[in-house]
């Protein structure tokens, strides 16, 4: 197979684009896709202070690389979740994130849940009897926003890719979760004091492509899956979507972008009606209750015997 641009030997095929690229033209394609997404959804403005949530996985490291090469100055924040003990999953991911930041001379801030907030994800899952992904999501959303806000960042960049967003949309559509569907946007504006705008520049890029980008660029990333992720419905949604995608290439992109381009505005009211936010009496972050969910969790973890 030959690169569709230069006819040199190909490195990757992207079936939904009917395209085959050599390594260099694949990098160019990835860069253009990110640039186009940033432009189309007005994600980043010149001079803004940008923070990226970095997990050590393929998506966040590929995005850091792409944004840096596009000329953006992006700091990273890594949250040490305490998964897998001292030699385990979290510490391995941290090493990879630190190694990447060091290699490219980028600034990475590390927040340790255990040290800074008094618990780890496995402890919180056990104490609350909730699935790990639930307490993990709550913790990461809070801490990322908090770090971005307190650090004076204008925007928080996330590595959600096409597969992530299509899977979330499918899950919410199958259950007609109108509030969640109304909330699914490429840009989540800072609607209240204390919230930082969130953007997702990898929307047009499938996760197979971020993984390929890292391999072809020589970026070491965390290949192993989180050991707590078993039974996660998001992964099942991705698997089901990939069954359809393999027979009908482009389905995921048409599903997500059809929604964003033609449907999402109709669900905006379902989201807006629900948003009546106060300040958390403990931390001041926006919440619908007196105490935000994160402070409730943290309080519960502090009170455990």
């Amino acid at each position: 197979m030959k690169c569709k641009v230069c006819r040199e030997p190909a490195a990757i095929e992207i079936r939904r684009h009917h395209a085959v690229f050599c390594k260099d033209h694949f990098f160019e394609h990835m860069s253009r896709q990110v640039e186009r997404t940033i432009h189309d959804f007005t994600m980043l403005e010149p001079g803004e202070k940008i923070l990226l949530g970095v997990s050590g996985g393929k998506d966040s490291l590929a995005l850091w690389d792409l944004l840096t090469d596009l000329g953006y100055e992006v700091d990273g924040v890594y949250i040490e979740l305490g998964i897998g003990g001292e030699e385990g999953y979290s510490s391995g991911s941290l090493q990879l994130a630190e190694q990447y930041a060091k290699n490219r001379d980028l600034n990475l801030q590390v927040v340790d849940l255990a040290t800074d907030y008094g618990y780890t994800i496995p402890e919180a899952a056990a104490e609350t009897r909730r699935v790990a992904c639930s307490v993990c999501g709550l913790s990461k959303r809070y801490v990322l926003n908090r770090v971005a806000h307190d650090g004076g960042y204008d925007v928080l960049v996330m590595g959600h890719n096409l597969d992530d967003e299509a899977a979330v949309l499918m899950g919410n559509t199958l259950n007609w979760n109108l509030e969640y569907i109304g909330r699914q946007r490429p840009v989540l504006p800072a609607t209240k004091e204390g919230l930082v705008r969130k953007v997702k520049p990898l929307l047009r890029i499938a996760e197979r492509e971020t993984a390929a980008y890292c391999v072809l660029k020589g970026i070491d990333y965390e290949v192993d899956e989180c050991p707590l992720v078993g039974g996660n419905t998001g992964i099942r949604m991705k698997e089901w979507l990939n069954v359809i995608e393999s027979e009908r290439p482009g389905t995921k992109q048409r599903f997500l972008f059809g929604f964003l381009d033609r449907v999402s505005d109709q669900f905006a009211s379902a989201h807006q009606e629900e948003v009546e936010l106060n300040e958390c009496s403990n931390c001041g972050q926006p919440t619908t209750n007196e105490l935000c969910s994160f402070c409730l969790l943290q309080g519960r973890m502090a009170d455990r015997g």
């Binding site: 391999v215 899956e225 992964i235």
Partner: protein, 67 residues
């Protein structure tokens, strides 16, 4: 050929030469869900894998909370 799988890490042996497409079909793996890697290089579906090769089938699906 030796086939290295991940999550969890394990190895399989497949007899004879085969294209990447055929290897994935034999193992009932959807091509969109993996990268096929030989000696650090990505393979395409039409590439031939010989009996003496070792290939890694690296999953690309990751999940969890609001990653």
């Amino acid at each position: 050929m030796k086939v290295v799988l991940r999550n969890p890490r394990r190895e399989l042996e497949i007899e004879g030469d085969a294209s990447v497409k055929d290897v994935l079909k034999r193992l009932d793996i959807i091509p969109e869900t993996v990268l096929v890697i030989r000696d650090g290089e990505l393979l395409l579906k039409t590439d031939l894998v010989t009996d003496a090769d070792t290939i890694e089938l690296r999953p690309v699906i990751s999940g969890g909370s609001t990653r």
